[in-house]
């Protein structure tokens, strides 16, 4: 009888704690590691846009030069359009530029430009050198519209539907893949939904 009681004593941890207690630190560590694995591998520059499904804020931009038509709030009514925020100082914009030229030439969507933080004349010179893919352009030299749109860097592209409502925002250059697989299907979808 005493032997049996000795045996049951031996299967219990010596301190009298439940067995699973031993795994508590390991489980805790795993949970924390899980959070870090999720949090640290995300790009902190990709912020969710608050502009989605909100009407484009009213804006008053400066003209680029005497020839280029000025982009106004009213120009965004009636047709699906892309608004590309760019600047002559922006390296990624130069990389994106050939793609924008293609989009402009394709005529698949109205493409407008916001020349962000360029001193007067600088954006015009830059577009003369590389070509102008935009239908209408407005100069936002003091970030007034950029802050309204929650822009954090250039290039950023906003997709606006017929009612002037922002439906999509893309941060960074538009790559051919992104255009083909994401942006163009979205544009077609918005155009179908009259």
């Amino acid at each position: 009888m005493s032997e049996q009681s000795m045996n049951t004593e031996a299967t219990k941890p010596p301190s009298g704690l439940p067995r699973w207690f031993v795994f508590l630190p390991v489980v805790t560590l795993a949970v924390i590691a899980g959070f870090f694995a999720f949090g640290l591998t995300r790009d902190p520059h990709e912020l969710p846009s608050l502009m989605i499904d909100r009407p484009m804020p009213a804006f008053a931009l400066d003209p680029l030069d005497n020839e280029t038509p000025l982009l106004t709030t009213e120009d965004l009514q009636g047709e699906v359009s892309l608004i590309n925020v760019f600047g002559s100082w922006c390296v990624a914009c130069a990389a994106e530029h050939p793609m924008l030229m293609d989009i402009g030439e394709s005529g698949l969507v109205r493409l407008h430009g916001v020349d962000w933080r360029d001193p007067p004349g600088v954006g015009a010179t830059w577009l003369r050198e590389y070509g102008n893919p935009y239908e209408r352009i407005g100069v936002d030299s003091d970030s007034r519209l950029a802050v309204e749109l929650g822009v954090t860097g250039a290039p950023e592209t906003f997709l606006v539907d017929r009612t002037g409502t922002v439906r999509y925002k893309h941060i960074g250059p538009i790559t051919p893949e992104f255009w083909r697989e994401t942006l163009l299907p979205l544009i077609r979808e918005l155009e179908r939904a009259s």
Partner: protein, 161 residues
């Protein structure tokens, strides 16, 4: 422990009321010095969205400079610091605030450390208590066991002798 928790809740409630007090406050700054002071206070609480770990007051990024200017314009126009912050949050989200607000989806952020700490304290408490209590119990067991063994030995010894 309960008292500590109560004090914590009290402090929390107090900070909430202070916050709403700041919202209701619509002091119109008169002098340029006052405007600058308020703008700096707001600017220090706003994140530069380009460099991300600096306030717009400390950042050299061009966008931060423009945001500083917009903050000053709004303060000069009579906006309270809370209203200016709300303006920025509406455009950039809570991310633009260096101090995250206390709301439903940030509860874990705010109280996570406290939960972890209380969990650790509870675990330590259980561990330390269980470490002392069974040894005392084991002591009495041992006495009984020794007595049983003595009796068994006595029984075994009898036939051989």
């Amino acid at each position: 422990m309960r008292q500590l928790f109560r004090m914590f809740i009290l402090a929390l409630a107090l900070s909430c009321t202070l916050d709403t007090a700041g919202l209701a406050q619509t002091t119109e700054p008169q002098s340029p010095e006052e405007i600058e002071l308020l703008a700096q206070e707001v600017g220090q609480s706003l994140r530069c969205v380009v460099c991300q770990n600096q306030s717009i007051e400390n950042s050299n990024a061009p966008l931060a400079a423009d945001m500083r200017r917009i903050v000053r314009e709004r303060i000069a126009a009579g906006d309270s610091p809370a209203e200016v912050r709300a303006f920025m949050v509406e455009r950039y989200g809570n991310f633009v605030l260096l101090k995250p607000p206390l709301q439903l989806d940030t509860l874990l952020l705010w109280f996570g450390p406290l939960i972890a700490l209380s969990g650790a304290l509870a675990a330590a408490y259980i561990y330390l208590r269980s470490g002392t209590a069974p040894s005392a119990a084991a002591g009495t067991d041992l006495v009984a066991e020794e007595a049983a063994l003595d009796a068994a030995l006595a029984r075994k010894e009898r036939p051989t002798s």
